[in-house]
Amino acid sequence: MAENSFDIAVVGGGPGGYVAAIRASQLGFKTCVVEREHLGGICLNWGCIPTKALLHTAQINHLLHSLDQFGFKADNVSFDVAKVVKHSRDTANKLSQGVTHLLKKNKVTVIDGHANLAGQGKLAVEKDGKHVQDVQAKHIILAPGARARQLPHVEADGESVWTYKDAMVPKQMPKKILVIGSGAIGMEFASFYHDMGVDVTVAEVVDRILPAEDREISDFARKTFEKKGIKIHTEANVEKVDKGKNGATATIRTKDGKTQQLAVDKVVLSVGIVANTENLGLDGTKVQVEKSHIKTDQWMRTGEPGVYAIGDATGAPWLAHKASHEGVICVEKIAGLNDAHPLDYKKIPACTYCSPQVASVGLSEQAAKDAGHKVKVGRFPYRGNGKALAMGEDNGMVKTVFDETTGELLGAHLIGAEVTELIQGYSIAQTLETTETDLMHTVFPHPTLSEMMHESVLDAYGRAIHF
């Protein structure tokens, strides 16, 4: 096989692309990844990982201001923004190097540049606008990812209007910010800046924050954030943003139809993402793009033979672990493995790392009812759990939704400390198709937060012990 000829070529080195490449190489395919910027993609470099580093520092700040509760005393607590950001960037860089090493170890060829489809089984790679090489591949997997969506009337400039990327590397702490959009990204930045002492306002178009979550969790989160001091406007439209010298003034039309002016240092745009489907050479191929996403079948095949697509470019949920799984499924199907199974999109957990954390998997109570299920719902509050009280974290809830007839665990919705680490227990339960009986028979260790997962299931059947 010629040097530039591969069994599988992956376009994009994010969590979908590099995982697909490693799996492909494990299965004996000669594999390459073409990446134009950073291995690890947005997730590692400008998404999941650096924001987690920031949110952890915010949590430390919050803790340092609650020391009295635990019997400590410290005066003149302060932080250095540059160092906080440095911790975040160092973490991202370390992991990106880790991916480079993993690809090397797995004998995946990494090609630096931007790839375009250039005829059947062929990619043209450019660097700085110049064609540098062609790559031949029997199978081409597109994993181009996505980028922040812009609002037509509010343009991010990196100065007074920020995207997530700008918000991740502040040179100094703003005093007052407006976050537009209350999805996972919006609420994580709202939470970070608030816990770092910033005056935060959130504007959301629909009638609740974290609109992808169960309504009860949305309401619980809103109450908690408002109690902490974050101002939230739902059913609110930001009609315009006037950029000034030292900040911006936003005009917000609120629910009651009135408009109000809000002067802030920074506006953070977090109104969703758009897939990077441009400049891939899709024109003239049978690859179909619908509503800015690449259409695939359950094995990630596009309309063009030999061309596949995975990750954010194929649609919601825009999550790294969804992209990775799609990558593995795509490659295993190409290899013809017998136990390749299509991804069940109802069983993908989602985590938001604001404070309190939010995590969920499966159907919300309403979605379950809309799907025709008669449901049994269980709830257990953090204030009934010993470990939570010991941690000083008594605000939160574990909610479970079961099908009344079959006992199938339809969904789980959690809010509170460390729920992002708890949710996978319910993911396993769903994947193994357990019923309430198996969960009731499972021994949860004491004292842990996980006991609430047990109690919530018991509560759905009127059997909760500790509440």
Partner: protein, 474 residues
Amino acid sequence: MPVNILMPALSPTMTEGNLAKWHVKPGDTVSSGDIVAEIETDKATMEVEAVDEGTVGKLLVEEGTEGVPVNQAIAILLEEGESAADLDKTPAPPAGDGADGGGAQPAAESGGGGSAGGASGAGGSSAPQSAASAPGTHASLENAPPAPPAPKDASGKRVFASPLARRMAKQAGIDLAGLNGSGPHGRIVRSDVEQAIERGTPAQQPAAQPAGQPQAQPQQPAAQKQPAPAQGVDAKASAEQLGMAYEEVPLNNMRKTIAKRLSESKQTVPHFYLSVDIEMDEVFRVRKELNDRAQARGEDYKLSVNDFIIRACALALKTVPQANAAYNGSSALFFEHADVSVAVAIEGGLITPVIKKAETKGLATISKEMKDLAKRARDGKLKPEEYQGGTFSLSNLGMFGITNFQAIINPPQACILAVGKSEQRPVVKDDALSVATMMSCTLSVDHRVVDGAIGANFLSELRKLLEDPMSMLL
């Protein structure tokens, strides 16, 4: 140390049996090989022989107890020098293999009516037996917590299914053992059960399903339940309601097996039927000749018409091996030998002893074997291996004057031949009316493995052989 006598597994598929009769009582001395009890299984009554010698210390299961799990202790045997005082040293019975809840029954002492727990008969699978123990033996029996039995397939292997799939199958009345799993390592998952419900529901009552009517809800495909008492009208409730006089007789194991196997067959196996009329004058002539000859020589056989049909079936199956088949889910099995199951009516039901490798046996051998099998079938003395594992079935109701009928396939076999009475009928031969001895046969065929042309081929071969019986003497 006292020794437990356990409920034996008399066939590979046996999970429980009824204790029909005790041949010993406490205090009796037994030696190895003595018959201690009779056990009724789904098809036959078998004798249990003592393996060790000693004195019967205690009977743990009362005569007449139904549904005693395999490997449950049924009696305690004292060895030489031991007395009743040693009874509490009895070793714990080994935990049964799944269907067994563990404990022994204090039946001998329970007095009066039915014993508790395990006496619940075939329904026992959902009620693991309590580890009730006879007074004085509890110390050694307490280690057997009841565990829900894992479902098993016909060969006794564990069926792997997710908890959700198990519950959905139970609610829909679907037997998990009949499903193929699409999950990891062949595990049965929710979607497999959903597909089975989808497949099964409309197939159950196609005739009763008016066009345009919505399909029955998945919650109600009771017709798949095995056995299926609840489809449509409950006989007892309706009899009560209408004030009809009746006598209620509990089903014996054979009846239950017939109900279960044949409901399953008729509901899940796509049957089609092929009929043929065969001229039997030659068979009668040759039969008379051979029997006269045997008598003159003092030989001890007397051929029946059925013996000719058995041999003809076996030879036809060798010529058309595609009909000697079984459906196996993702594959079809074609058997090397023609093992012909012959239906024998016995008291309380019917049983199908098998003439193994019938294509290799002559008419005299078949005849003798059949006579012996039929007699022992009627006496309930068949061994499981004598009525299990045929590849083709034959059911002859000619002796009852039936001219023709259609039989239900005996799974997993693919074909069953229903044979009517041989009688003189007017036939047209060479443009003239004449009289011939005719026999009507109907072959029921599982269309999943055997197609119409193959079935027709088989019948054509069968007819050739019977109309020229000398050809099968070779």
